[in-house]
Symmetry: C2
Subunit: 679 residues, 2 copies
């Protein structure tokens, strides 16, 4: 995306730049840019503190320490995975919320892991040195995997520290990140979904909003609340309009570096296929949820996640299908290519664009058609089998998720005692079988073996009901039983996993080779960009810590001015405007607190910071590094941001820090928490 | 499907047959079979009366006359299209139901047309004579279309009678049907959707059920209720368990004659693609409905129809994906093929199976990728353009829907004053543009022309808001303005239609050629079946009148006995069992009537009659020809019936006639109607 940076936001050539594009690396912050645009020079201490106050959730989001005793603030929708796993038919934390009256009432999450980034080292030279010029793609992938495994292991201390090599700029740079891990994470407070997700799927990715999309966890160590000296203090009032604010979080993935050929492939093939699959599971889970209120509860979290993805991807597709967006990408690519071709030293890089195009079209032809597995139990069966296989290899040769550096995290998932619902598993497995039959044709030998003479629904019912894998103790026992035991097991899910495994491994191998081809090509494209346009650019998002920033600022839409923030009182008006619609009823706790609440308190606000999925739960801070907000969404206009940043209408949406404090104090009377904030 | 008839239900070789398979032609009823199995010999008068008491709805269902003054009974979900079109934001007939207090309060449907079959003539020889052996496929299709147009015109009297040539046995037989048309159809009574569709999408295609899926229209002529001497009298008590009952209705389509190659194509390609498209529009309409209660009302009817199709097709796909179903089809096909190959006189027919396979795979490659149009206004634009083009040709050369025989029906649709909602049209058009871009790739020149430099959403908004086609008077004026005016029109929808038209016409031409190839091949396959297995077989469903029959009979499911009928009192238990779920609340009218209702009244019942979509609204009669029920659904096990009939668990689901009368009398106090029934 550095290719486009100059074109869209000429910040590096002119100080009159209009936009605050960028998801910046903490070890390469745009100091000059911040000074020019916002008169702000972040000190090393400022950024180090913010980095260490930020955490990543393994369930796919961001968060921050907000007290010295391990309190962590994130979104309700980031915590939802845990809220769901901690809920039962009789204790519905999603619907009713939760507040721990005392520290010993905080609820331990079954499999939540938080990572705090503590150091970054550039290891590009070491990684690139491992791959000699002229090596075959497969050999290059193997060599790269080996050096990365060694580097990661060097920074890992089981259960406490984890090393991770991050591929940046599409493959032009490699950094070794060291994380402090927290795997004893406990739920402290969560509001009701009715207010956390007020307006439901209809309001998701929309603005104005009125959502208390927040919840609070605490990290524990050795049976005590952990000591977390780097935490964010609460701002007294939050930001004013046009104040610049800073977002520290883990944007998961952007594709701004992608070539026009790769984007066209996304637009015409990959995204439409993903959307078909998302809609398929959305309908399936809706149908399952129609069976009864308990089934609706069981499906709720996964259904939300699918609906969220569906809406996000529709926005991305709309961006790519807009001819003006593609025109901008095409022009920028042609300009860069022309500069490359005219420069004798760069000329040899020009082939990279063709390589990307070739890889995109080859990729589709090499898939086995085995769809990604949605049944948790079948996924566990495959993990057990592959774990036993990988354990027979040295660390460097293993698939990365089975490496020593990843082992503790893998086992936390594999042996989690989060509930698994047999009826839901059946439905998911039956649908997956149907997908498999569609993808490969039902006459395919693998399909026939999987069905074993039954219909898909009967096969799924038989396999789930007679498998023993839903018991974590059984999984733990099987994990140490060795490959032969697993291969000879009569467990029907292990048998299905064994049928699939050879082709899934072949898929993985070819995907690794294609990824290596892409890495080599994009590394060349990035180097071309550095040479032509300079190196003060940020890499695409990689679900690692980045800093974004921009002013708090409303926008115009269909002739209307959309204000920069909403108020708590506005939630009641919003409820009234949507009378008769589901998901627009404020919960009883709020109705009761109405008269005591300061209705003028800012509720949600927007800023132009450059964010994307994964940033959910990111703290928003002011120049003083004080917490002023909590990112929870982007508006619909921000979704093409996967490919291209604009600040005309695209906005990041946050819960205002004052609204969180007001709700904690007045609605939830969470005095214990309020007192601990900022201490 | 005659191929399979003997194999699955050996009724013609053994009187111990277990099943009542068959959707029989009224001019070729299985008299011998009925006598053997049920000791019943339908007289010519019995069947003629039943045929003339039956009607077909152009909105896609069946019905029957139930008084001598034109009262017509059908399903609420068949009438829903009209209920929706007659509703506004302030008058929601779907939600609140309707009862006309007097004849002059009956509400005229905007575009409903009922067809009463009055005669059948075998015209096979005339149609086949028009196609000489050795003619090219395209020439054969043209010649066949011409002779069919002539025959249809000979039986048509504009506005009163319509001729229709029906292709039977896949192309082995052609019958000329003459219909009496009723185009002044008025709504008399409809219950609330809450009871008509009690249990909603969750209960759809399930059993036991508790639905009053009924409504009543009246046909008018010359400003008076029409005189309809052939009508069904109401049975005093309805059927007992194991009584044989008869269903007279219009099953829309079955594919039982299809070869294994064609079914595999359905299973692995066509059905999955259709399901993707259905889910796509289901999510789209759900999302649109989330905008507000009025939007939910606007989308309701179309959303129901899509959900209904989605569930039906999932059941069909589950049937084809069941290896045992395909094994039965394969064995039957191989047996017939073997018999054909061994018989010197039949041997030349054996190539037909390969032709079907070739056509199925060719078809997919010849499509322009233009998706079927969901925006009513864009569809109207295309119709106007094609109408002007077709009018320049003689009747015999026109596309069938523009022939003289079809003209009155076409104009009723084209000039209908049913409401068209601009916001919904925008959403549907934008989604269709997105589909078009996905199908053809967004760089395709047609896509670029359609977008005209805008995003799909912007293009749709601009086109819908500035088109004048939503005014029926404008459409009427344009329809008589001539081709040149239409081609030069600045109306954006006519411009888009003009862009699409050439390719849509090419699609149509190749589809006509493929259909002709299929007709020739299936005619040969059917003749082979006649020769090997006899001619006492029924043809696949063609949305024309058929007679089905079978006993009222419960079944076993997961070890449970499912009773043959439910009672009105059971609806309250069902409501209680589903407390907290949407679509399980009995309407206020029923709650109020509870104490006055006879709770023992049978509500819904099941029988083994062979039905499929299109049979909705079919009368169910007893041996005396009295009305005992109203078909409204098949259970989930009946859905593979598109390919294969079984009576183990597959059942047709009806509203019991006594429940309709009890509700009319007690809940709706519709004395005017109750008194008219059977008079």
């Amino acid at each position: 995306m550095r290719i486009l940076l100059l074109l869209l936001t000429p910040v590096l050539v002119a100080s009159t730049a209009a936009a605050d594009e960028g998801m910046w690396l903490f070890n390469d912050l745009p100091v000059e840019l911040l000074k020019q645009r916002h008169g702000f020079e972040p000190s090393a201490a400022w950024s180090e503190h913010l980095m260490r106050a930020s955490v990543r959730f393994n369930s796919g989001g961001s968060g921050s320490f907000i007290s010295s005793s391990g309190l962590v603030l994130t979104n309700h929708h980031v915590g939802a995975d845990t809220l769901h796993k901690l809920s039962t038919a009789d204790r519905n934390l999603m619907e009713n919320g939760f507040l721990a009256a005392a520290a010993d009432a905080e609820l331990k999450a079954p499999d939540l892991e938080l990572s705090q980034l503590i150091s970054i080292r550039d290891v590009t030279d070491e990684v690139q040195a491992a791959v000699s010029a002229g090596t075959s793609t497969a050999a290059a992938a193997t060599a790269r995997r080996a050096v990365i495994a060694r580097l990661e292991k060097s920074a890992t201390e089981t259960g406490r520290l984890r090393g991770q090599v991050v591929t940046l700029y599409g493959g032009a740079r490699y950094h070794l990140y060291q994380y402090r891990l927290y795997s004893d994470v406990r739920l402290v407070w969560a509001p009701e979904t009715a207010i956390a997700f007020f307006g439901g799927d209809a309001d998701n990715f929309e603005y104005p909003r009125y959502c208390l999309d927040a919840c609070i966890f605490r990290v524990w160590e050795d049976g005590q609340p952990a000591t977390t000296p780097d935490f964010l203090r609460w701002s007294a009032d939050g930001p004013q309009e046009n104040d610049v604010v800073f977002v520290s979080g883990n944007p998961a993935r952007t594709s701004r570096i992608q070539t026009v050929a790769a984007l066209s492939h996304q637009r015409d093939h990959a995204l439409p296929a993903t959307l078909d699959r998302l809609r398929r599971y959305e309908i399936l889970l809706q149908q399952y949820g129609l069976r009864g209120t308990e089934q609706a509860r069981r499906a709720r979290d996964e259904l939300f996640s699918i609906q969220n993805s569906r809406k996000a991807r529709l926005g991305m597709l709309a961006g790519l299908q807009d001819p003006r967006v593609m025109q901008i990408k095409t022009t920028a690519e042609q300009e860069l290519l022309q500069a490359v071709r005219q420069d004798p030293e760069l000329r040899q890089l020009a082939g990279a664009w063709d390589k990307v195009a070739a890889t995109a079209s080859e990729r589709a032809q090499h898939s086995s058609g085995i769809p990604s597995i949605r049944s948790t139990l079948l996924r566990r069966a495959l993990q057990l089998l592959q774990l036993a296989e990988e354990d027979q290899k040295p660390d460097e040769e293993r698939l990365p998720e089975f490496s020593d550096a990843s082992r503790a995290s893998l086992e936390q998932q594999l042996f989690s005692d989060a509930p698994i619902y047999a009826d839901l598993e059946q439905v998911l497995l039956a649908e997956w079988i149907s997908e498999l039959l569609e993808a490969r044709g039902a006459d395919d030998p693998l399909c026939i073996e999987v069905l074993d003479g039954l219909s898909g629904a009967e096969r799924a019912a038989a396999a789930i009901s007679s498998s023993r894998l839903s018991d974590p103790a059984v999984r733990r026992e099987l994990a140490s039983s060795g490959l032969q035991t697993l291969q000879q097991s009569a467990d029907p899910l292990l048998k299905i996993a064994a049928l699939l495994n050879p082709e899934i491994r072949r898929d993985r191998e070819s995907e690794d080779a294609f990824a290596e081809q892409d890495r080599q090509a994009y590394a060349a494209i990035a180097e071309a960009g550095f040479a032509v346009r300079g190196t003060s650019v940020y890499p695409d998002a990689t679900f690692t810590l980045r800093l974004s920033f921009g002013p708090v600022s409303g926008y115009k839409q269909n002739g209307e001015t959309i204000p920069a923030w909403t108020t708590i009182g506005g939630a009641w008006k919003h409820q009234q405007q949507h009378a008769g619609q589901t998901d627009y009823s404020l919960p009883a706790s709020w109705q009761q607190a109405h008269d005591k609440l300061n209705l003028q308190t800012p509720f949600n606000f927007v800023c132009t910071a450059d964010i994307i999925g994964g940033n959910s739960g990111s703290p928003v801070v002011n120049r003083e590094g004080e917490l002023v907000g909590l990112i929870f969404d982007g508006n619909i206009q921000s979704l093409p941001g996967n490919y291209i940043y604009t600040d005309r209408q695209a906005r990041a949406v946050s819960v205002h820090s004052s609204a969180i404090r007001e709700a904690l104090r007045v609605v939830y009377r969470a005095n214990r928490i309020v007192e601990e904030l900022g201490r």
